[in-house]
Every structure is written in C-alpha cells, then in structure tokens.
C-alpha cells in the first residue's frame, strides 16, 4: 500500500516538475506548451511501458517489448514512408507498419497450440534490422526529410501541436487509453499464462486467441504512439522490470504500475532534455542515458 502511494506521489511530483521546471519564466503560453508536452509524456511513457509489461507477461520472456518484437521499427518504417509520400507522418501507415511486422513475426513464431518464444524474439530482432535498413533507404532518397525521420527514430515530445494535428492527437490518445483499459481486464489470464502455457490451457484459456488479441492490440498501441512522438526506446523494456521489482509478478498491480512508472520516467526524462539545452534533444536519447545506469544500479542492489 505504501508503495502504491509512493509511486503515485512520485508520478504527481514528476508532473509538477515537468510543468514548473524549465529554463524560462512561466507564463500562460509556456504553461500551455509544457502541459501539452507533459500529456504527451504521460501518454507515450505509459503506453510503451504498459505494452512492454503485457508482452513480457504473455511470452514469459524478459526481453520482449515493442522494440524487440519489431513493431516499433515497423511503425517507424510506416511513418517514414508517410513522410516520403505525403510529407507528413501518417498514423495509418505507422499502424500498418507495426501490424505488418507484428503479423510476420507472429506467423514465423506460431506453432501448433502456441508460440515459440525464442523464435518470436529472433524473428522480431531480424525484422527490426530489415525495417531499419528500409528506413535508411528512405532517408537516402528523402534528403530534406532526413531530420524529420531522424527525430522520428529517436522519438521526441517537442512536437508542434497546431490546428492541423490537434484533434488527431487527442483522438489517438483517447483510442489508446481506451485500448489500455480494455487490455487491463486480462490481468488474471496473463498471470496464469506467465505461469506456463500448459496450466493455462488446462484452465480453459484459448491461448491462441488470447495471444492474438494481446499481440495485435499492442501493435496498434505502438503504431499510434510512434505516429505521435516517434519510436522512443528503452521505456517498454525496462519499466516493467522496475515495476516487477516493486510489486511482484501479479499483473493486476504490475500493469497499472508499469503505466504510471513509464509516464513518470518519460516526463522526467523529457524535463531533463528541455532544461539542459535550447537545442531540441530527442527524449529517446535521454531515456537510455539516464535509464541504463539506474537500471544497473537497481539490479546490482
């Protein structure tokens, strides 16, 4: 209980810090800007960590996350294609990229009555490499779009919100949060499956169907997130581990905690990236710069 209060307190603190701390005085315009940035941080950090937790539970593998499964790279590829063709990031293409890679990985790893977990990671990593090469080709072809794709690959929360994308971003966030709420209801099934697929099958869970739902919903979530803030790495991999260290293996607590911790982490990382320079430092860079030492410390303790 105390842990829960602590996590929520830290989250609120992070939000306050994200809004109040910055290189400049606070007036209503800066406030608007920071609030929208914090909202993006809560949304992206939360969704990525939530997906990581979901996938790690489903496949019982600590390495699984949107990146290692290839869906983040697939989404980045789709979004880059959008930049090349339409001159703007297209959420639909990002989603299809994410889904396409997800589907391929799923097909490779599928066997009778379940998924081969090792093959899943392998296929995901291989597909990630493929997507990266294709994105490189687009960067070479694009020339002028290079910066935009580069920032998409690293992820950043400094996205300009204007009349052309405001409504779309709100809709995408609402859809994502709805999907998160929908997936949260499966925490009990996830607990059982992470114990072992035989037990789960014995208890009457249709593993095939269940994996399919989780797998593609998370692909959708990742596609939506990438189309707004780019492919922010590290959050989805590490945060679920931190949450597990704090709250143990049960998904009822773990899923929620991952969301809140992911939000906290990303909002803080973004505040840091904003404060240290007037340059737009991609938040994806800061997440790993700060996150890796923290993670090593946590595990060595």
């Amino acid at each position: 209980m105390t842990k829960t209060i602590l996590v929520i307190a830290v989250f609120l603190l992070a939000v306050a810090v994200g809004i109040l701390v910055g290189p400049t005085h606070l007036d209503s315009e800066i406030l608007q800007l920071r609030i929208s940035r914090v909202i993006l941080g809560i949304f992206a950090g939360g969704v990525l960590a939530f997906c990581g937790c979901l996938l790690q539970g489903l496949f019982g593998n600590p390495l699984v996350e949107p990146y290692t499964l290839g869906s983040a790279s697939g989404a980045a590829l789709g979004a880059s294609v959008g930049i090349l063709i339409f001159g703007a990031i297209s959420p639909i293409l990002a989603f299809f990229g994410s889904l396409g890679v997800g589907f391929f990985v799923y097909t490779v790893a599928r066997i009778e009555g379940g998924l081969l977990r090792d093959r899943l990671i392998l296929a995901g990593v291989v597909l990630s490499f493929l997507c990266s090469s294709l994105v490189m080709i687009i960067m070479v072809l694009g020339g002028r779009e290079l910066y935009e794709i580069l920032y998409l690959l690293m992820g950043y929360l400094g996205v300009i919100i204007d009349a052309t994308n405001r409504i779309m971003i709100i809709i995408l966030i609402v859809i994502s949060l709805g999907l998160v709420a929908f997936l949260y209801r499966y925490h009990r099934e996830l607990d059982i499956i992470s114990q072992g697929t035989e037990t789960a099958a014995g208890l009457g869970i249709d593993i095939q169907k269940f994996s399919l739902i989780i797998f593609f919903s998370s692909a959708l979530l990742v596609g939506l997130t990438v189309s707004i803030v780019g492919a922010i790495g590290f959050v989805g991999l590490i945060i679920p581990h931190v949450s597990k260290l704090l709250f143990g293996p049960r998904h009822r607590y773990n899923l929620g905690a991952s969301f809140i911790l992911g939000s906290t982490f990303l909002v803080l990382a973004d505040t840091l990236s904003r404060v240290i320079t007037v340059y737009e430092l991609p938040v994806g860079v800061v997440t790993s710069l700060v996150g890796v030492p923290f993670f090593i410390y946590l595990y060595k303790k």
């Binding site: 400049t24 800066i30 020339g143 920032y151 400094g158 996205v159 300009i160 904003r274 007037v278 340059y279």
Partner: protein, 270 residues
Amino acid sequence: MYFSKNTLLFCGGLALVCLISCAKEQIGSGYRIVSLSPAMTEMLFSLGAGDKLVGVTTFCDFPVQAKKIRKVGDFSHPSIERIVALKPNLVIINLPEQKRIKGELEKLGINTFVSSPNSLTDIYQELSAIGRELDLERQADSLIEYMKHNLQVTTPDNRKRVFVEISPRPIVTIGAATFLNDLIERAGGVNIFRDLNKDYPVVNQEAVITRDPEIIIVLHPKGITGRTGWQKIQAIENNRIYTDLNPDHLMRPGPRLVDGFRQLKRIIND
C-alpha cells in the same frame, strides 16, 4: 627542285590539317566543369562560364539553361561514375555534404574546387577564387562589386528580432554560422538564434517563444498557424509572418541573394 608539286601540296595540306586540329585542340582544352553546387552553377552562369559546365545536379534549376545540362545525381547523392564519365577537369564540391565525393575524386586525380560559405565574406572569397581559377578575374570582380553594392548594411535605430523556420518537425532554424544570418543583420534585423554558433540548429519551441521574435520567416510550405503556446509571440499577434519568400533567394549562396536581400529589407523595415 627536290620536291614535286604534289608533295608540296600534300605537305601544305597536312600542315593545314595539323593547324586546324591544333586550334580545335585549343578550344577543346578549355574547362570541362561539373558543378555539384546549385549556387556555384548560378555563379558560373553569371560569370559567363555557363557553357563550360558539362554536368550539374538535379537541384541546379537556375538559370533555365542549367536544366538542360547533363545531371549527375541530386545534391546529397551525386553519382561518382556519372561525374567521371563526363571527363571533367574541374569538379565543384559543396562541403560538408559531399565530403565523400571529394575524397574519391581526388583519388582519381580529378581537380576539385571546394565551396562551403558560412558568411558573405566566404561567398566573396570563393567567387574571386573561382574567377582566378577560370581566368575570369575581371568578371568575378564585377560580380562581387555588384553583390557588395546591393547587399549594403542598413542600421536602423532598433533592430527587429527575426526567427527563421526552415522546417517544423523538428524546428530547424539558422544559427550564427550562416550567410543568411549575415543578410538579416545587414537588412537591419537580428536573428534570435545568433548566439548558437552553428549553421542549422534544431531548437525547442520554448526557446522560440521566450525569445519572442517580432518577425517570423517561414521557409517551408507547411505554415505555422494555430500552434499551441505560440499565440502571444509578437510576430504572431501583429501578423508579421512571411511565408511567401523564395527559399532559393535566401538559402542558396548565389547571385540571387541580392533579390532575397531586397525582400528581407522590405520585410524588416516595413
């Protein structure tokens, strides 16, 4: 007489042919230039050396004659094979973008001329260097004179703060190490990011809002209306956003900077 009339005629003819072919050689031995820099392509045409160009990039679209010259690729990715196939004896390279090409050409023993101007002084220096190289010093001097005359410093009582947006996602602007920064200062304005000693820095929105520009020049087609948090910026409140400037007149260090400068002066001192 040791030689018959026929022999003499033959020798004479031979000599004539030799002379003609030598003369031809002389004409043909002039410069064969490949320009990988759209700005330098414009400069060469202004110097009257456009006919020496045998290859250009797909970005070299001015003057119209430049469009008819053989293309060797685009600005960022010229093809080394196509360049070599044109047998140039001078290739004009833009740094830092074409560093790789420069190394490869030098390995092949092809003469290169480097262009990478970060200020107006650089532009003038390069112009006189290419003039010397091509024996067109007089023309180069008069072009420099023309540019200097038309790019004279204006010093208003208070300098307007200018923000230039090159691309919106992420926000790319100009730092101190650009000739456009020079032009803005000469036109009587001050670039809000001149403290960044870079050419094209990526900056965050908060920095733009805090520095509160009085004039915003948008050099991309996407526009900047309705941005969250930008409403109170002076330029936006007073509707001093300029989206219709030709980027080629401001971003391309060629003779048309004069046109761009004229527009800048009009905008800033409006």
